[in-house]
Amino acid sequence: MSQENLRLSIRDIFHMLDNKHLVFVMYSDKLIKSFGQILSRKDLPQDLRELVSDYIGSLKMLKTTGHQSDTLLNETKPIIYEKLNPDEGYFDADSIKQKLEEPGPHFQGPEWKE
């Protein structure tokens, strides 16, 4: 199959979403471990200790959110698969790839800043 004609199904799109959740979980997990190592240093000043603890807390929240998003997606799948053919190619792969490479609206300029 040529890449130009590649069509993606709902199952494929959900798989891509699964991967995005995995990236969330893996990266936050890695950073939690790295910051955990910094936190274990006995010579760490108290102000930095508090800052690193705060980072770890935020990263744990991100990791939990990644897992929760995944749980919600899994709950949704069977209902959608029942209504629509999960293997029919509804989406143009090139178009999806292009959209994923576009920066989001929050990157566009100062007018989006609070």
Binding site: S9, N19, H21, V25, Y27, D29, G66
Partner: protein, 132 residues
């Protein structure tokens, strides 16, 4: 890990971020890593490098062959190849096909890095250092 005995790890996933990230992590842990974003490239790398561990995503819509077929072709080259499949709870049929094709194990997405370390150690007996 002894430099002369550095184990090789092949990561096969159609999400490049996952491939790059996993490569970085396991290089720090003493592995020589290879990445492939499709099954055809993976089989070529396997043929040449014969990695001790092959981590293969089951569902790869952007790849000409999916993870199950990648596994089958690798096993055709070396029936003793250690292949760990990465899949979803909802991929039961595919997981079963992988088991029949000789997969050593499968882990479910999204997984923690400790789960991957433990699975590799359990199957290959390669001791993986904790966070470096």
């Amino acid at each position: 890990m002894d430099a002369q005995r550095q184990p090789k790890l092949l990561i096969v996933d159609d999400e490049p971020t996952i491939v790059e990230f996993t490569q970085k992590i396991y290089e720090k842990k003493g592995f020589i890593t290879f990445g492939a974003d499709d099954g055809i490239k993976a089989v070529e790398i396997f043929q040449k490098e014969r990695p001790e561990v092959n981590l293969i995503d089951v569902h790869m819509p952007f790849s000409p062959i999916d993870g199950t077929e990648t596994l089958r072709r690798i096993k055709e080259i070396d029936k003793n190849a250690c292949c760990i499949m990465v899949s979803r709870v909802t991929d039961k049929e595919r997981v079963e096909a992988c088991r029949k094709n000789g997969a050593s194990a499968y882990i479910l997405k999204p997984f923690d890095l400790d789960v991957l370390d433990n699975t590799i150690t359990e199957i290959t007996k390669i001791q993986i250092p904790k966070e470096t």
